[in-house]
């Protein structure tokens, strides 16, 4: 069965243009709008509603939904579907994300485009299933073994959950890389207004597929089509002989595991295909930073109380602003360096004991104070708690 993205059919299935829905459902909507044709997943709180939405809606859009036996199988099925030509995704939360780590690295090494929505909760282990947290912001970067780069986004609203799922697919198709949508139990379970974009209000990027001569085509070399470091994609079944392995491989895809230059060349290409575009990919929101002495730097759900705290602080005449990272990885290191030269203090609220805080510390200049503002236990910071930190500066 061949899936073809049919914008009218998708919008008919999704229904009214303006809806009041949960963040998790908005992730499913975003995937469907992006043209996802395969979803393989395993239910887990607080991400189950993504699978629930997909199970109900994806077949009606012409795609395939499979509930796999666990998260390892889910990501494996997603990778296989992507090689069959599908835009494929899965959704999970902390414990499931931990299980996916090995195959997440496999997707990186095999340059497989796919999307993992992680509706984060806390740990260690099964932790607090029904509550939100930002437990995996470092796991997404460093959780799989070896040297790699990550692409990860963090929505703060239900509308962004939809929009950023589309964006995740676009980035994954463009860079042939598994992209992680790092939402959380708080945003995932909130209901807010969403506006379903019309076709001319959204951008869809599809992977560049192989068109070169079948005898000479190199599936893991720079693109012969556009010279990019991202190879053209030889979809299975289109006649290109392709060997796909997680082992260090040459440009033909065959294992070459014993020579240092072979490994370095491969790994540096799959890292720099992303980091070369760090500036171009950067996606942040700046609020009241023009004259700020103190800045919150945050992302996802934590940005909601921080934005309220900025408003409260401004009412008191305090010069406080906020930088919200919509794309957390690759990390906007130069922007943080510049910000740290401008403000005296950066406060980093996170729903963990400090993860992105450490990255900000790494790239901020020494004479800017970086304050870790952690909150764990399944609750967001209260705006007043953040205001107190500001007032203590």
């Amino acid at each position: 069965m061949k899936y073809e993205r049919d914008p009218e059919r998708i919008r008919r299935v999704l229904g009214n243009k303006i809806q009041f829905i949960q963040g998790d459902m908005a992730v499913a909507y975003g995937g469907l709008l992006a043209g996802v044709s395969f979803f393989g997943g395993y239910p887990i709180t607080p991400a189950s509603e993504v699978a629930e939405g997909m199970a109900r809606l994806l077949p009606r859009c012409g795609g395939c939904f499979i509930q796999m036996e666990d998260e390892i199988a889910s990501i494996a099925a997603v990778i296989g579907a992507a090689w069959g030509g599908a835009k494929a995704m899965t959704a999970t939360s902390g414990p499931g994300f931990s299980l996916m780590m090995e195959n997440y690295g496999y997707a990186v090494m095999t340059e497989t485009p796919c999307v993992i929505a992680n509706v984060q909760r806390t740990g260690p282990s099964t932790g607090q299933p029904t509550l939100g947290a930002q437990g995996d912001m470092m796991q997404v970067r460093w959780g799989s073994h070896g040297d790699m780069e990550a692409i990860a986004l963090a929505p703060s609203t239900v509308q962004e959950s939809l929009d950023m799922t589309i964006q995740s697919f676009n980035l994954s198709e463009k860079y042939r890389h598994p992209v992680c949508l790092m939402t959380d139990g708080e945003v995932g379970h909130l209901r807010e207004k969403v506006v379903i974009p019309d076709e001319d209000e959204m951008e869809i990027f599809d992977r560049v597929t192989a068109t070169a001569d079948r005898e000479t085509f190199l599936p893991f070399a720079e693109s012969p089509t556009n010279g990019s470091k991202v190879p053209d994609f030889p979809t299975f079944g289109t006649g290109y002989r392709t060997y796909v392995t997680g082992l260090t491989h040459n440009e033909k895809g065959f294992p070459r595991t014993d020579k240092q230059p072979d490994h370095e060349r491969l790994v540096m290409r799959i890292i720099t295909k992303i980091t070369d575009d760090r500036e171009e990919m950067m996606d942040v929101e700046e609020i009241a930073l023009e004259d700020a002495d103190i800045a919150f730097v945050t992302y996802g759900a934590s940005a909601r109380p921080a934005e309220s705290a900025v408003a409260l602080a401004r009412e008191k005449g305090l010069k406080v602003g906020m930088l919200r990272l919509k794309l957390v990885w690759p990390f906007p290191r130069d922007l943080i360096t510049e910000l740290s030269k401008k403000v005296n203090t950066i406060i980093v609220p996170e729903m963990n004991l400090g993860q992105i805080y450490h990255v900000i510390k790494e790239f901020a200049v020494d004479d800017c104070d970086i304050i870790c503002a952690p909150k764990i236990g399944g609750e967001m910071h209260l705006p007043l708690e953040l205001l107190e930190i500001v007032e203590g500066c």
């Binding site: 009041f20 708080e186 379970h189 909130l190 807010e192 207004k193 109380p305 934005e307 309220s308 967001m380």
Partner: protein
């Protein structure tokens, strides 16, 4: 304008749906912004449940209530559990049959919404009668938007029953005086 609304009851009474309908009325059928969140125990039925909606004509940052402007209860246990952070001028609305012990030394609107539902032949629309009552007591969101959201959110074969429940609740709310 920003109003924090909390509706509470026990699991199965439809309090989550009630919050959902008010949020939908505010931002799909009217021009406000709304955020709805919820909390409930692991039980599908029973146990205190609450649904919270923030309605505002501005962007909503922190998505949970920081106090309560409108407090609605249709079960005794929930009424007792969730009233810690009521604002001084909070509007309190209860069904006195479901919350018999409600003397907290503050004016309260009392509407027998369960009785309205029973008179219509189906207790299941108690929550919709309460949405009508809220609309009659406090015209934050236009009545038409509230009614549209009700119709949009209930099964088609029960549309008439739900409209009746809403309208009777609305009338009872209009006539209610805080006591």
């Amino acid at each position: 304008m920003k109003k924090d609304i909390r509706i509470c009851g026990f699991g199965g009474q439809g309090v989550i749906l009630s919050g959902f309908i008010i949020g939908k009325a505010a931002c799909v059928f009217h021009t406000f912004n709304a955020v709805q969140s919820q909390s409930y125990g692991p039980e599908a039925r029973g146990g205190a449940a609450r649904s919270e909606v923030i309605v505002s004509d501005e962007k909503i940052g922190y998505p949970r209530p920081t106090g309560v402007d409108v407090y609605v209860a249709i079960a005794q246990e929930a009424f007792n559990t969730y009233q810690d952070d009521l604002r001084e001028d909070a509007i309190i609305i209860i069904d006195p049959d479901l919350v018999p012990n409600h003397d907290i030394g503050r004016p309260i609107y009392k509407v027998q919404v369960q009785k309205i539902a029973e008179d219509l032949g189906n207790k299941i629309v108690t929550n919709i009668a309460m949405i009508g009552a809220i609309s009659g007591i406090y015209d934050l969101i236009p009545k038409e938007a509230m009614l549209n959201a009700v119709v949009d959110s209930v099964p088609k074969r029960f549309t008439d029953l739900n409209i009746k429940a809403f309208e009777r609740g609305y009338e009872a709310g209009k006539n209610a005086k805080p006591e």
